[in-house]
């Protein structure tokens, strides 16, 4: 073996060591990062449980001690207790569902679904729970469009987007929900009732737009990551576990769709759920 070979072999080994070291370092860094995010997640979850439990405990104590000032107030206590119970329940369901989604074990019951109806009912329910009815403004650009979806899951995805919008945008700004469809949806059905072949697969878009602070470009790629909470969000004291958007992404992917985020800092956010139109349902809606 001459000097040349030796140098080459050492060189190759050297490169392997460096590359190997780099791979290990990156993996370690990522592990630490995930561990950190999970710790923050556990803390965030505990913080999410606290307020509803605190208020329930206090209200129940007052009821128990007969310290309620009036009948009207008592009825209000019961209403609030019911709301807080629902809130806790949703939190628990979210966590369990998220775990199932992560394990690839989420089960969806797909069926043809009228998107406009779903959007309107979710928006109405959300607005009802969050103060004013005109906080959420719904615009349906196209009616009668069907998608194959799990109603509960898709509702949950939309609800999570609304929830984020409400958390980040000032209370006096409206949240705009828009439903539109394009592609095959417009040209699908011929006169004899047959669906035209070769038409591009239609897409339904449900977008939720708020007038909050927006998301910096550097954070945009990460907001869908589980447990991730943008530094600006944490700094602003916004409550959350960091799994809301991860859940939305899971659900929308399972529906053959995707979520698109558009935002500029200072200019609010727009999250758009895109799912394929149910071609079977095209034009059959009366």
């Amino acid at each position: 073996m001459d000097a040349h070979d030796l140098v080459r072999r050492v060189g190759v080994i050297g490169i392997l060591v460096v590359v190997g070291g780099y791979v290990v370092a990156r993996a370690t860094f990522r592990e630490l990062e995930v561990a950190r995010l999970q710790r923050e997640f556990v803390a965030a979850v505990s913080h999410e449980f606290r307020p509803p439990l605190t208020s329930m405990k206090h209200l129940v104590e007052m009821l128990d001690q007969d310290a309620v000032p009036s009948e009207e107030r008592r009825r209000l206590y019961y209403r609030v207790l019911a709301q807080e119970t629902n809130r806790l329940q949703r939190l628990v369901e979210d966590l369990l569902d998220f775990q199932r989604m992560e394990a690839g074990r989420a089960v969806y019951a797909m069926a043809p679904l009228d998107v406009a109806e779903l959007v309107e009912s979710v928006a109405a329910a959300f607005a009802g729970q969050h103060g004013s009815a005109d906080r959420v403004v719904v615009r349906i650009a196209q009616r009668g469009v069907l998608v194959r979806a799990d109603a509960e899951a898709l509702s949950r995805a939309l609800w999570n987007l609304l929830d984020n919008a409400a958390k980040y945008a000032p209370a006096d700004t409206p949240i705009a929900v828009e439903l539109s469809a394009d592609g095959g949806a417009q040209g699908g059905v011929a006169e004899d009732g047959a669906v035209r072949q070769g038409v591009a697969r239609g897409v339904v878009r449900i977008s939720v737009r708020d007038r909050g602070p927006g998301i910096a470009a550097s954070d945009q790629a990460r907001v869908f990551d589980k447990f991730y909470r943008a530094p600006s969000a944490i700094a602003a004291g916004v409550k959350g576990t960091g799994i809301g958007l991860a859940i939305v992404q899971h659900i929308v992917s399972a529906h053959g769709g995707r979520v698109v985020l558009e935002s500029r800092p200072g200019d609010g956010c727009s999250f758009t759920i895109e799912v394929p139109v149910d071609e079977q349902g095209l034009g059959t809606r009366r």
């Binding site: 709301q83 000032p170 004291g237």
Partner: protein
């Protein structure tokens, strides 16, 4: 009997606090965010401000600083589960920070009188509730 401003965005907690304090013969005003809190504090004199740290849009620390910058000397009791963080943040700005443990306000009147300049108290919210006894 004192006039108390409760700054709390969780409706259930605000409800219970309002009624509980009213039961103890205090006059309670509730503000559910920092902006309303500052407006309310400027509009009328309060004897005590109960200030939740986790508020939407403008957090409790910011509200506290703004109140002080506006020249308001009302005693402020910050409700937080993270007392060390609170102390660090409030630190040098405040003449006094006293840790109040186990959800009880001990002799608040005495503390206010002992050092009336810029009192800010940080209440540790242990467990799941806070009770207030012995308010002036």
């Amino acid at each position: 009997m004192s006039r108390i401003l409760v700054v709390e965005d969780e409706p259930g907690i605000a409800l219970a606090l309002e009624d509980d304090l009213t039961l103890e013969s205090h006059r309670v005003t509730v503000a559910d965010d920092g902006v309303k809190a500052i407006a309310a504090a400027r509009a009328e004199p309060f004897d005590l401000i109960l200030l939740d740290v986790m508020l939407p849009h403008k957090d409790g620390f910011e509200v506290c600083r703004e109140l002080r910058r506006a020249g308001l000397r009302t005693p402020i009791l910050m409700l937080t589960a993270k007392t060390q963080e609170a102390e660090k943040v409030m630190g040098l700005d405040m003449a006094i920070t006293e840790r109040v443990v186990d959800n009880q306000i001990m002799n608040l009147r005495r503390k206010v009188e002992a050092d009336p300049a810029n009192p800010v108290f940080i209440a540790s919210v242990r467990g799941l509730g806070y009770r207030f006894d012995g308010l002036p």
